[in-house]
């Protein structure tokens, strides 16, 4: 219930009581109120409460539509990935799950995909930058709903989940292995399972034990000494490792959050029950999120992301190598032999629209990073592409202040948000968890 400010109460009384109006001393008013007509004051208070109750409906029709568009039940079923014929093959997904947790898939036998993508932690690690064989340059991303993303990594340097899965395997800071070693290992350890899914494995007896185009100098020269047919044999097995890992990751879906229960009841025109009831602060935060604070401009749809890249002025981390985001990823995805237009895609080239019509040369790509999903965001600090902010409060403060970018132009404009409004936004973000 709203309380009438005490001073206002006093003024009300004096305005309508002529004998008090003559008296300029506030102290006298206080006395008169104390000794005054209690039922009369109660009546004014009651009327005030009634008026306060005559507010606008809680959400406008436009707000209701936006809220419905953010709810998990608005998420369409995952489209088939025609570039990966095995994407929905249960055998491939099972092999992918095995590989995902297999520490042998690394140079020193200590790092698996699951080292950074931890199953109990939304498939992320809670660190500012992921740590594989060594510390990487970027924050590990959670995996819920990852298969909906047309671009992978913070900068989108890969254009499919299966092409993405191959990068950490060869990255010297992550799993740090090499291509021939992986192909040979899969044949030796999982040969039968592999062949049941992907068909016969080639003969690797003349292939070097350790070779790859991205490894050490020795590994690279061993790779360069191999024939084109050998490269292709190894690349095909390597691509299939990625396709199995992608098939597994397609099964990792976002969980229903408190917000989804609230949104479902709102859409049905009912009255929320139990934990679907939003506090006034959470409602204020939701209204800000889709209104004045413009968060839902980019964090839109049921995954709370537009899957696009934006420079939002997030500061660089001092001791990391220069990082220019999307602008440097364009050439990398174009050059990737496992991209959609490459030889290892299944299906036709009509699936490659994103790559074909990719923005290649706009200044807005400088320090642009992919909009991350906000589902279950409260459970995984720190935030941003290199873990720059330790709390949601810091993130909200950053977007309110909207500092200019160290390079390129930030798309974010400063926004005046009171302490209460900032707290309300954080309270709303917490409702995106189960």
């Amino acid at each position: 219930m709203r309380r009438f400010p005490a001073q206002f109460q006093e003024k009300c009384v004096t305005v309508f009581r002529s004998e008090l109006r003559k008296n300029k001393s506030l102290e006298r008013f206080r006395v008169s109120v104390k000794n005054g007509n209690a039922p009369g004051i109660a009546l004014i208070l009651l009327l005030a409460v009634l008026v306060a109750g005559c507010e606008r409906p809680q959400f406008s029709e436009a707000e209701k539509r936006t809220i419905a568009s953010l709810a998990l039940n608005a998420l369409p079923p995952l489209k088939p990935d025609t570039t990966n014929r095995y994407a929905d093959d249960p055998g491939a997904a099972a092999l992918g799950a095995t590989l995902f947790f297999d520490f042998t898939l690394s140079r020193n036998g200590t790092v698996a995909c699951s080292t950074c993508h931890q199953i109990g932690q939304q498939f992320q690690d809670g660190l500012p930058q992921g740590v594989g064989v060594a510390r990487t340059n970027r924050r590990t991303q959670p995996l819920a709903g990852v298969a909906y993303s047309p671009w992978l990594f913070w900068d989108g340097r890969r254009d499919s989940l299966w092409a993405q899965a191959l990068v950490p395997l060869e990255n010297p800071l992550e799993q740090a292995g090499n291509r021939t070693a992986y192909a040979r290992y899969v044949k030796a350890r999982f040969g039968e399972r592999y062949e049941r899914i992907f068909g016969p494995l080639p003969d690797f007896s003349n292939v070097p034990a350790n070779a790859g185009p991205l490894g050490s100098a020795t590994e690279q020269s061993a790779w360069n000494g191999m024939s084109g047919a050998q490269h292709d044999d190894i690349n095909r097995v390597f691509a299939n490792i990625g396709k199995a890992l992608a098939a597994f990751q397609r099964s990792i879906n976002p969980k229903e959050a408190r917000f989804d229960r609230f949104a479902a009841v709102l859409a049905a025109g009912g009255e929320p029950q139990d934990d679907a009831v939003f506090s006034p602060e959470e409602i204020q935060g939701l209204k800000l999120f889709i209104g004045k604070a413009s968060c839902s401009t980019c964090h839109n749809g049921p995954l709370f992301t537009d899957h696009a890249f934006h420079n939002t002025g997030v500061p660089p981390v001092a001791d990391l190598p220069p990082d220019r985001g999307r602008v440097d990823a364009v050439a990398q995805v174009d050059a990737d032999p496992f991209n959609c237009l490459g030889a290892y895609r299944d299906g036709g080239p009509e699936a490659c629209g994103e790559l074909k019509f990719m923005v290649r040369d706009k200044p807005e790509l400088i320090r642009a990073y992919k909009t991350p999903s906000l589902r279950a965001v409260a459970g995984r600090p720190p935030y941003m592409h290199a873990g720059q902010f330790g709390s949601l409060e810091e993130v909200v403060a950053h977007y309110a202040k909207a500092p200019s970018s160290v390079e390129g132009v930030s798309e974010v404009h400063p926004l005046r948000l009171s302490e209460r409004e900032r707290a309300a936004l954080v309270a709303f973000l917490k409702t995106l968890s189960p």
């Binding site: 009300c12 305005v15 309508f16 009581r17 000794n35 005054g36 007509n37 039922p39 009369g40 004051i41 009546l43 004014i44 009327l47 005030a48 009634l50 008026v51 005559c54 406008s60 436009a62 936006t66 401009t297 980019c298 839109n300 749809g301 537009d306 899957h307 696009a308 890249f309 934006h310 629209g353 994103e354 074909k356 019509f357 990719m358 923005v359 290649r360 706009k362 807005e364 132009v409 930030s410 798309e411």
Partner: protein
């Protein structure tokens, strides 16, 4: 001590004042869509008046976050189909500091002055602008389409 009726009148008066203020606030509040709502017609004249262009999604409706093909129909001011034109697509969101999330391209000539523009994508709701730079044997001109999602 004031009689009870004075409080009653005071209360009613207060309610009247509050309602009056609320009425003024509601009536003068800016409406939610932008004051100057963009012209979203699907057929528009080009800037120098050289062409009349119609631009529609191939499957009927503009969708959010999906790559779509659009069809551009070009006619001269006299209503004759424009052939052998090349089309450059640019644009973005005028209210945000960003361009299009993709680089749409003319991918096909469909005959009768109709051109297929592929790779059109809108990554968020709101007001988008697509600027089509048209170069035809008869001359060059630009036409701007507003699309509100």
């Amino acid at each position: 001590m004031a009689p009870f009726w004075r409080y009653l009148i005071a209360g009613i008066g207060l309610v009247a004042v509050v309602l009056g203020v609320l009425a003024v606030v509601y009536m003068t509040a800016p409406s939610t869509p932008p004051a100057a709502a963009p012209e979203t017609g699907q057929t528009r004249g080009s800037e120098k008046g050289m062409f009349v262009a119609t631009f529609v999604p191939q499957d009927g409706t503009a969708k959010q976050n999906e790559l779509q093909d659009w069809v551009l129909t070009l006619k001269t001011a006299a209503g004759k189909p424009v052939e052998n034109a090349t089309i450059e697509v640019s644009g973005g969101m005028p209210q945000h500091a960003h361009g299009l999330p993709t680089s749409p391209k003319m991918t096909d000539y469909l005959g009768d002055g109709r051109y297929r523009i592929s790779g059109v994508k809108f990554s968020m709701s709101g007001w988008w602008q697509l600027k089509l730079g048209i170069s035809a044997p008869t001359g060059s001109d630009t036409v701007v389409f507003n699309i509100v999602l």
